[in-house]
Symmetry: C2
Amino acid sequence: MSQKKWVYLFKEVDEAEKAVGGDWEGVRALLGGKGANLAEMTRIGVPVPPGFTITTEACNAYLAAGNQFPEDMWEQVLAAMKAVEQETGKKFGDPTNPLLVSCRSGAKFSMPGMMDTVLNIGLTDATAEGMVRLTEDERFVYDSYRRLVQMFGSVVLGISDEAFEDPLDEYKKEKGVKNDTDLTASDWKTLTEKFKEVVRKHIGFDFPQDPYDQLRLATEAVFKSWNGRRARDYRNAAGIAHDLGTAVNIVTMVFGNMGWDSGTGVAFTRDPATGERKLYGDYLLNAQGEDVVAGIRNTEPITNLINELPDAYQEFIEICERLERHYRDMQDVEFTIERGKLWMLQTRSGKRTAKAIVKIAVDMAQEGLISKEEALMRVTPDNVDTLLHPQFDFNAKIKASEEGRLLAKGVNASPGAAVGQVYFDADTAEMMAKEHNQDVIMVRPFTKPDDVHGMLAARGILTSEGGATSHAAVVARQFGVPCIVGASDIRIDLEKRLMEVNGLLIKEGEFVSVDGSTGEVFQGQIPTISPTLEEQTDLLILLEWADEVASTPGIRKAPEGWPKTGLQVWANADYPADARRARSYGAKGIGLCRTEHMFFEQERLPSVQRMILAKSSEERTAALNDLLPHQRADFEGLFEAMDGYPVIIRLIDPPLHEFLPGERELLEEVIEMRVKGITEGLAEKEYLLEQVEAMHESNPMMGLRGIRLSIMMPEIVEMQVRAIFEAAANATLKGIHAKPEVMIPLTGHVNELKVIQPRLEEIAREVMAEKGVEFPYKFGTMIEIPRAALTAAEIAGIAEFFSFGTNDLTQMTFGYSRDDAERNFLLKYVEEGILPKNPFQTIDRDGVGRLMSIAVNDGREARVDLEVGICGEHGGDPSSIEFCHTIGQNYVSCSPFRVPVARLSAAQAALKYRDK
Amino acid sequence: MSQKKWVYLFKEVDEAEKAVGGDWEGVRALLGGKGANLAEMTRIGVPVPPGFTITTEACNAYLAAGNQFPEDMWEQVLAAMKAVEQETGKKFGDPTNPLLVSCRSGAKFSMPGMMDTVLNIGLTDATAEGMVRLTEDERFVYDSYRRLVQMFGSVVLGISDEAFEDPLDEYKKEKGVKNDTDLTASDWKTLTEKFKEVVRKHIGFDFPQDPYDQLRLATEAVFKSWNGRRARDYRNAAGIAHDLGTAVNIVTMVFGNMGWDSGTGVAFTRDPATGERKLYGDYLLNAQGEDVVAGIRNTEPITNLINELPDAYQEFIEICERLERHYRDMQDVEFTIERGKLWMLQTRSGKRTAKAIVKIAVDMAQEGLISKEEALMRVTPDNVDTLLHPQFDFNAKIKASEEGRLLAKGVNASPGAAVGQVYFDADTAEMMAKEHNQDVIMVRPFTKPDDVHGMLAARGILTSEGGATSHAAVVARQFGVPCIVGASDIRIDLEKRLMEVNGLLIKEGEFVSVDGSTGEVFQGQIPTISPTLEEQTDLLILLEWADEVASTPGIRKAPEGWPKTGLQVWANADYPADARRARSYGAKGIGLCRTEHMFFEQERLPSVQRMILAKSSEERTAALNDLLPHQRADFEGLFEAMDGYPVIIRLIDPPLHEFLPGERELLEEVIEMRVKGITEGLAEKEYLLEQVEAMHESNPMMGLRGIRLSIMMPEIVEMQVRAIFEAAANATLKGIHAKPEVMIPLTGHVNELKVIQPRLEEIAREVMAEKGVEFPYKFGTMIEIPRAALTAAEIAGIAEFFSFGTNDLTQMTFGYSRDDAERNFLLKYVEEGILPKNPFQTIDRDGVGRLMSIAVNDGREARVDLEVGICGEHGGDPSSIEFCHTIGQNYVSCSPFRVPVARLSAAQAALKYRDK
């Protein structure tokens, strides 16, 4: 049997590839990310300083053997050094022409927790003198030598940084100099000796003068660092396996500070901020990489290099293009020019802004470098989201934090940045916004449905209570208003009209800045930048591609009769304006119109309250007749906006007490009137209180609402269905393709549907006969009660479509009240990893998802063409969208502002599961 | 092909049995219940008047053909009549010796909605004269004849009863007589003519003088009555299929009024009230069946017959014994003696009281007439329940209703009868009971945990709000206190200390009677009767048999590792006294001890509140240390009571605010103090209010409680586990076999258990080490959150047992808040059949049950010996117990008072599914 190969020269990459069976991931696993990239650059002819990689397998073998190099490894290292010597014409430890190398760790995945780099290995007292002769730059050589001693001491030998910093500071004090740059060649020479003394003192032996000892010890240190505490912690946190091991890269040192024909720099192959296709970076002549980073001298823009070293620049440009073509992505590269000769030291995919991510992906697809599918997979849904909301200027935010203006952190409930003056109630907020044209931040302990007019008028919303799916959060996301909820450090005093955070008072009318993307609240104003979708041509192109992919027949493998394309994206919209926005954002239908929002409008609420408090059936009918024209007009506008697309309208869902004043307010008023002996209006208030108390429920979430309310009081939904069908008929008569779908909420037992649905279908037919028109329509139900999912086969016998109400379904499946849970324990659960994610943000696949999957399967058993969607908050969450795809849904519906995000997510899900 | 046989003589029962393949149910379907029984009696040699049955198939064929007799049917009837003539020696329509018959409908199931009987068919003007000659009793003959005309007219021809009653009344007025008995032979003869005139006038033809016309028309009328409106309605209500058809029985008339050697009577073969083995019934000599029923003459006890007609009586006794042996059940028989000859006209299983049901079943098994298994199947769980609760004297209740003392009907939440004086708060109720030795009925709008002391002191509980699983209901059932909840007609005025029902006022201290079995509330006192289990030797024997059956290995078919016996019955008990009662009722373990009930006791609640309101960890620990000895003592008592049996103790479950005063009370106090300017004690109250408000939850049912609370505040459960294990150790040291099982409530995600359980197990080991003892123990969890059921495989990886908390599981699976649902919509749902049953009383198998089944299957996949039980309210419900058996649970746990019911149910389930 041949000896195991532990060491690969960079130019032996083909062999490495063969050893792992031709798989590039395997090469990365064997040689580490850095080693694999250096080898790959070598293979494609990019000039890389000669060197080699000691494999991760060697590391694992070393650790497994109790810190013993595996057999033959060191011999292979020595052989590789010989090969490098041969290639460079230099010799390791040879004072006349010494070879210096760096030793760098390099695992499969980048790991900040591990030992990084030791430079200048090979410098000894003897070779240093040789270098001085060669470079004629004694200061450079001894600076390099003392760096080696220092790095080796701290990184390899584990001596504290202070042990080296302290003598350096002392020496400078003695010399009366302030900066390192003021130190001379002899100073560094002296310090090198002092540093060697530090090593001796701490370790008990001399800094090794045999370069091979340096190399061996550095290699062992890298190996051992794999099991260091920081590395283990990092791997635990990042979910990286502990058995991968790290590779060690030994690379010939090249120096950019060997004169004005030398230099060093870093560059991106495209602009990482905008994505523009142009080189972007800096360089310095006669300098080392550290100098570029340290900012001691001002760097030059990369394009200027053409004037100074035109040949090297030309070669660099060509190499950059080659690397982009080869890696099919924008590269972040490091280079050094040593005496006119260009060396590439690193290449990797470059980090970039969301804007650049989109532009580069689209451009590269259009350049033919990558496919449209690859372009789609390179952009994350979060990138899209970022592009659609106003953002605070990054640096301004940093500055504000440094100035102590960060007041609090809450739940980032609705993304985007908002700046405005605080007001503590909906009426004032609305008035200041509408009449005084102010930018308003509405601040409340929590919000209720009758606060909505203030919330809509505000630029941003801030509450001290509630979680990511509290009323404030849901409404804010729905209308794209930046919102932070549950900022529990803030104490709001509604009477004094101020809020207090850690002793700081903010009075009504003062400015705050609210970052709904991060949950941060700042005092004062922070500048924002805000793009619109229409301006973002690259994003528009990308989303077109997403729609193409998702609408490809056959892209989804599915049983007979099930959807074969990807998910459609619909939107939740209550008003025609929302519907128009949703459509402009690419929505292909309305998945949820909440009719009760219409009930809260100022001119309607009195009729609604009259209807609820009616003492006779006639009174109730009269009040409902007042409401009907309003509802009809709303629906007509929706059908017009969505001409040709389905519009799902949900019948009244909330419990009736939500439309009445709060019990507590009323109670306080009544008690006060009684105690003070005020009789005027008391009886009326007492009657109202009595009614509200009669409607009180211990757990309203599980109470008299939805279809239960409709069974007890069918007049409301009868009016609503009449309004829907009259509106659809009117629209049809105007030539609009109206496609109403009536959705019944909160079904838990098929018999509930059997009681209500035929009655409503009868009204639908009646209206169509009255108007003399026909149009397609459906009746269906929300699946938001666990029992509905469990008995989906029966329910699909009546319902023509299902729409998952995953907010309520999550509440009931977990038994979490979303109004309280986040505040009380849920956030802690997520923080401590008891729950992997907040299930109100991302569908819990094991629990809630299992119910959904049961519902789709059983439902389609009973009705193979059952239309299945989701209209809960999760409809805009990428992971949840992917799950909806896998269980065979037809569409997802989300807030209009999330539609672009959902379109990308739908396409990505389709691509990811194309062959599964 | 031979002709289809439509008609079977009673003596042709073997042929009928062959025709349906030997199945007795088939015979009943073909001949109807009555026909089958007459035929069967004939077969076993019991004297039945000769006759025959026209089959249900003939009926169906008749109806299917548009009211046409099927081919050959009438010919078969004629042939059967000939056979009957031959047997009786009489001739149909022959004036010299006329045969008279009755025509009776008889479907497979008894159906009051159908045409019943026409007697005396065969009487015509001519045969009547012949009968007069034969009987020498003209009055009897013409009374019989006019009855035929009248019955035939109304039943067969559909003439209204009034059409006959009016001329009769007129005639009596003319004659100046009051009673039918005052009419003479010639009066009846005249009336017969008048009745024939009525027929002619209404129908347009004469009353048929051909007896075969009478027979044919009567038969057709029976057939048609199958599709009559009343019959259809009845079948719809009773769930009987519409395609069964009815048979027609033609039976020779026999007469008990042919002299003093004739008679008629009804009897039960055993006492239907007590079950005693002795004949029970009445007879009259020289009388017809109708006379016995009408009560014109006083009947004689059946045993007296021996003195009057000893031969007939001897034969009757023998026949009764034969029928009991044959049918293997107590029989309800009718007989007629015609001139010394005994004829049996009917036999069927006799209705009887719960007490008799049990005694007869046990006696018959001991007599060897039936097997123990059959005895077990003959008693319903409701029978057992009835025997265990005090009952109102039935007649006294009827009388009270007639006197208008029935005040209201509510939900029958906890069975049993209670009489007492009403008190409107727990403190007064307790005081009046304890200090004044009164029988107390505690009346509240609804109850809360701090009302428990009053509820326990009361004989009965009545609330105007809440449903079958409201706090009042659950506590009442737990402690066997009769209880009615949701009696919404009752208006309680707590200030005036009275209640009002429909204008009637009942003041504090007045008496009411509460029937928790029916939900009825009566004014005043109604006498009760109340047996104990110990007294009921028959029931004790039956329950012993039940346990034998349920503990038979192999009686349950199950996968490897699953339980092979039937269900064990455990009990829910919080206190040692309950545990002792449970054990005396046959419980084999404690399935639920609710530790928090102990927290509500007067001397403990202050410590609990101090613990909750603690401002520091030390304060909290101090308060918990005060509680520990109390808890330990409670548990020690439990282990002693259950020596050798497992005791499942649930760690704290309810939200903490339940231990504090109510928010509303506090709020009212604080507002009042503020408005009135009272400052003394205000700050303290305000602090308490602030704390209570901070704990306020919108949906407390889904809030911070159970394991969630334990994760946020582990000190409480740590104390509890220490108390449990110290108690178990102490008990063990006393020689008691303590088997603690620690149950963690409200788990929804396995990670919750992973956080808490190991920490508690550590404490358990610590205590055992401290005490130097070892005993078996388990840690497990409730399955009451839908997600827990859906992820049971993961959870069973940690939990060693599951106990279904079906109250909460039902709440969350349906999304019904049990505090509100029954009042708001659930009772209406059940009334209108939207839900087949109240899911809080009987497990909803399709929804909740599906989750339970998933949990058992997935749980045992992960841990094959997983112990699975149920501790929700459903654990005492027979249908739910059956379901628990079918899904493979180990035990059910219910309130001590339900244990006997559950033992029977468990045995019945085991028997029912033995071969499935």
